[in-house]
Amino acid sequence: MKIMNVTCNDRDRIFEDGTLAEWTALEAHAASCPLCAEEVRAWKSLSVAARELRDYSDNPSFWPRIERALAEAAARNAQRAERKSWFSFLPSFSPAWRTALAGAFLLVLTISGGWILIHRPVDPGDNDKSLLKSSALKEVESAESAYEHAIDKLAAEAKPQLDDPATPLLANYHEKLLVLDSAIADLRAQAGMNPSNAQLRHQLLAMYQEKQHTLEEVLETKQ
């Protein structure tokens, strides 16, 4: 067999990735080159030294330990699979399909919610109690009108005394009635702008009642 020629410069390359033929050539070269002979010897000695790191002594209890751990893990997996099987009636979809379905469900939910919100029946109990509805308003306005007429009659009876007050008390009643009339006029103006406001109607009623009591007191003074 013809041996190829190698030099000291080829040594590292052969150590790293030499072919059998190159190693043979290096061995042949090393026979006449002490430096390469020493390097080849040291290089191979490392491989021999590596054998010192082999310890394949057996531990008889090691496999049973691994086997036990594997069995326990398998049992846990089986339990998990059993729990999962409870939901097996649900069809299994890919993540993309699951996302699409969730999106569609959300869309349907939003549209349904919007539709219900728009078309829900009006519950009068939910509305502001201070606002009078049209039927109640008519009732209040007619009662108010009748009450006002009755007070006007009372005022007409008391008018002679109030126009020419004989006593300071009557003069005070006259002043009070002027203030009440002014307040009633203000409240009626506000109620005209906001007829459904029950609060204004209550205040107006209180003013009328006060005017009624004052007129009654004026008439009692006459008697």
Partner: protein
């Protein structure tokens, strides 16, 4: 560090024939009665073992252990430095294989995949161990404490080699252990460490160069001077 002369009595036992490129000396050639090497198994056997493990057959895992358990433990011990941590790492590797076997697609051999899990598990264990004691002392991640093991032929050499290995980079140490100690081929190591075969060869070369410098000062410089 004290130097360890490699001109030792076993020099005579060193074969003058190097390993042929691509025809790696198998572990069975290194030691009689040792664990069966993965490469001896035909691919179909590797696939059959993977399929049996995937089916949840505990006997398949037992077969994997019988074939590779001792080598896995030895590798873990050399990375982690003690047999207790090594056994924990091997057990964890079997559990991870069981957990992840469904995702094994066969891009590499099943055994190569298993060793990749083992190597990663060992380094996870090292990191976790380091985190636990990093405040307590200044132990470097790269210097695991090696506990005494069964006496070999040259305990002093072994200890020197362990100390020197601890000073290598992670990849250099892994490649040296897998190639020189466990007897894997570069193609297999490339699969285990997710590197190219060329990178594996280069890393081994660098590892051995560094080990040589640490264990035996180069006499060549003096000789070259002459």
């Amino acid at each position: 560090m004290g130097t360890m002369g490699l001109a030792l009595p076993w020099k005579a036992r060193i074969s003058s024939m190097p390993r042929e490129r691509g025809t790696r000396v198998e572990p069975s050639e290194h030691f009689a009665g040792g664990p069966s090497p993965a490469v001896v198994n035909p691919l179909s056997e590797d696939a059959a073992l993977a399929a049996a493990c995937r089916s949840g057959d505990v006997r398949a895992y037992e077969r994997l252990y019988a074939m590779h358990g001792a080598r896995m433990k030895n590798l873990a011990r050399n990375v982690l430095g003690n047999p207790v941590d090594a056994e924990d790492a091997v057990q964890e590797t079997f559990l991870k294989v069981q957990r992840s076997i469904a995702s094994f697609r066969g891009q590499s051999s099943f055994v190569t995949w298993t060793y990749r899990i083992l190597v990663n598990t060992c380094y996870d264990a090292r990191r976790s161990r380091l985190r636990k004691k990093e405040v307590a002392n200044d132990d470097s991640e790269e210097t695991p404490r090696h506990e005494p093991r069964a006496p070999g032929a040259h305990p002093a050499l072994r200890m020197a080699l362990e100390r020197a290995l601890a000073k290598l980079t992670r990849h250099q140490r892994d490649v040296f252990l897998l190639y020189e100690v466990e007897g894997f081929r570069h193609a297999e190591i490339a699969g285990m460490l997710e590197m190219t075969e060329t990178a594996s060869k280069n890393t081994l070369f660098q590892a051995k160069k560094n080990l040589r410098l640490m264990l035996e000062p180069p006499r060549s410089s003096a000789a070259e001077a002459r």
